[in-house]
């Protein structure tokens, strides 16, 4: 019998603070068993069930790229019991990871298309995995132009600054950064993500749009994407839901006859239009 709830023991290798407020950290982990590490493959947009023994388990999207072999990264905001325990943990401690779960971003369907990525706030994690995946030299030529619009409340809340500065220099990606309110050192755009999306007006010709962010950003960005000509089946969202099992059994991520953990977390707008508005 294979018990689907047994996590793989993993070691915390690096912990990096991502934001000025210090409530978002990136945890780099390595599976204790090299055999597990070798066999573990995932797609950008999939997630793992991460557990701190004694505190519990919660779903966290992979922030690392599948091309980074041997390690996994999770970017975690301190909000509840498990995430607080993780934030208080130290390098070298052992945690649990099981997965990968969910469908992930539609990487195969994106090939041969221009890609527009819209991210806001802390929800940028699996989009970062996707950007890193596309930018990898083995993959880059299979995708068209890559445009990334990413914003946060203020400059201190932008995560992955080390990646952003690399990407800004690169010709392989058009990165547009924005903050709701800049500070004296901020020289880039100022404004909400949906507003900037409208200003930039990326072309929808042969393009796929992917979006992840707080509900308000999604709600305000959808009509703009429609206006830009992105059809519902070429617009993808990643949903957030409370989950306990990750494998479609515990019942809490149920939306209509779908389970977000199993049938999602990525859905096209077309699929969402056919589901009850309960997410």
């Amino acid at each position: 019998m294979t018990n689907p709830y047994i996590p793989h023991i993993s070691v915390l290798r690096k912990i990096k603070t991502e934001n000025a407020v210090n409530d978002i950290k990136t945890f780099e982990v390595e599976f204790e068993d090299p055999e597990v590490a070798r066999g573990f493959d995932y797609k950008p947009g999939q997630f793992g069930m991460v557990s701190y023994f004694g505190a519990g388990e919660c779903p966290i999207g992979f922030a690392s790229s599948p091309m980074d072999k041997g390690i996994l990264q999770f970017t975690i905001k301190k909000v509840g019991v498990v995430t607080t325990a993780l934030h208080n943990s130290l390098v070298g401690e052992k945690i649990g990871v099981r997965g990968p779960y969910g469908n992930g971003w539609p990487v195969e369907e994106m090939e041969g298309h221009d890609v527009l990525i819209v991210g806001a706030g802390f929800a940028f994690t699996t989009l970062r995995s996707l950007v890193k995946y596309i930018l990898h030299e083995d993959n880059r030529e299979r995708f068209g132009d890559l445009t990334v619009i990413y914003g946060a409340r203020n400059p201190g809340e932008l995560i992955y600054k080390y990646d952003l500065s690399e990407w800004e220099k690169s010709n392989e990606i058009d990165l547009i950064l924005t903050v709701d309110r800049g500070d004296e050192s901020w020289t880039k755009r100022e404004g909400y993500v949906p507003t900037i999306l409208e200003e930039v007006s990326p072309s929808s010709k042969n393009a796929i749009a992917l979006i992840c962010g707080p509900p308000i950003v999604i709600r305000l960005s959808m009509p703009i994407l429609t206006k830009l000509g992105f059809p519902p089946d070429k617009t993808c969202l990643s949903l957030e839901m409370r989950m306990k099992c990750g494998i479609g059994k515990c019942g809490r991520c149920n939306v209509g006859n779908r389970y977000v953990c199993q049938d999602g977390p990525v859905f096209t707008m077309k699929e969402l239009q056919e589901m009850p508005k309960e997410y």
Binding site: F53, G56, T83, K244, C245, K249, E278, Y279
Partner: protein, 340 residues
């Protein structure tokens, strides 16, 4: 189908013989309620009942179940959950609605990419031996949801009370093995079988609740935003008892529990009727009020599950009707939906 009989006063001896070769689980008085528990003799089992307060789902899907044990501090898995007892299990004295509930639970836990092997392992070793319902309760509505007081779905043996003795219908090979060479059983006569058939017709006729449920799922397809949901949840107090007693509710929570001498990850029954069930870390709750939660329970049973498996996730056992502290009645909700 093979028919046997067993004398009524021989049933406890039959259980005694079963106990010698398998784990027998039967209705027993536990505390103040009747529920399914392991018995060590036929004497412990109770057979004078309409139905148990708690459904036998707790045998295959326990209210709390250790998923695995871990060692605190060392970060290592110590022991995986295993069956509490090997060998064959017999769930004895189950009612047809509950046996059908188990077949629906089987569908759910074996669906999708990831099977719930903790459930399936226990289920795989369990034979179901049931009693046909001669006197359905006025809260019963099994025929409306696709069952029957003499339903055989999921059963390995079905016993029919003929007064002095039980008729034993042998329905599967597994059932055959249970009675094989048992000295307490005799071949049934044609009269016995006829009597049982007559009782079956009487029982079915005696069911007072007959709901029109054909087309219900299709009707609900377009009713997610219906004003009906604003009304039907009003008197619900959100206690969740309907889901705990339901044989076809299987949502669970997963928590870590640490005591002085052991650390375990366990799963516990949970309910969609509690606000915390879907409350996210951000503070956002997709089902913030009783309205959304009531809608979820009804829609999941009568529409979402139906769309996946072509059956309602309700067997008409009536427990939710009997146990509700404010007399909310799912039959009324079904009637209201159908009359909209």
């Amino acid at each position: 189908m093979k028919h046997m009989t067993i004398a009524k006063d021989g049933i406890r001896d039959f259980i005694d013989r079963l106990v010698k070769r398998c784990r027998v689980i039967a209705p027993v008085e536990s505390g103040k309620i009747l529920r399914f528990r392991e018995v060590s003799s036929g004497e412990e089992a109770c057979f004078d009942f309409h139905n148990t307060k708690l459904s036998p789902k707790e045998i295959l899907f326990p209210q709390n179940e250790v998923l695995f044990k871990y060692s605190k501090g060392r970060g290592a898995i110590e022991a995986e959950a295993g069956p509490s007892k090997n060998g064959e299990w017999v769930i004895f004295g189950i009612r047809p609605c509950d046996a059908r509930g188990i077949t629906l639970t089987d569908l759910f836990f074996s669906s999708g990419e990831h099977k719930d092997l903790l459930y399936l392992e226990k289920r795989g070793r369990s034979a179901l031996v049931g009693f046909a319902c001669i006197h359905p309760l006025n809260t019963c509505f099994c025929t409306s949801t696709g069952g029957n007081p003499f339903g055989r779905e999921g059963m390995d043996l079905l016993l029919v009370d003929l007064g002095e003795r039980y008729l034993v219908e042998v329905l599967t090979e597994r059932g055959e093995r249970l009675i094989e060479a048992d000295r307490g059983l005799k071949d049934a006569s044609e009269v016995d079988v006829d009597t049982a058939n007559k009782l079956s017709r009487v029982a079915e006729k005696s069911l007072r609740t007959r709901l029109q449920m054909e087309g219900l799922s299709e009707k609900l397809d377009g009713m997610f935003e219906d004003p009906l949901w604003d009304r039907v949840h009003q008197k619900c107090v959100g206690c969740g008892v309907c889901t705990f007693v339901c044989p076809t509710c299987w949502c669970f929570d997963v928590v870590d529990e640490e005591t002085a001498d052991s650390s375990s990850r366990i799963r516990l029954w949970d309910t969609c009727q509690f606000p915390l069930f879907t409350l996210q870390g951000s503070g956002f709750n997709p089902r913030p009020t009783g309205k959304e939660r009531m809608r979820q329970r009804v829609m999941h049973k009568l529409n979402y599950f139906f769309r996946e498996h072509r059956a309602f996730a309700c067997v008409g056992c009536g427990r939710c009707v009997r146990e509700c502290p404010v007399n909310l009645d799912i039959r009324e909700i079904i009637r209201t939906i159908m009359s909209e």
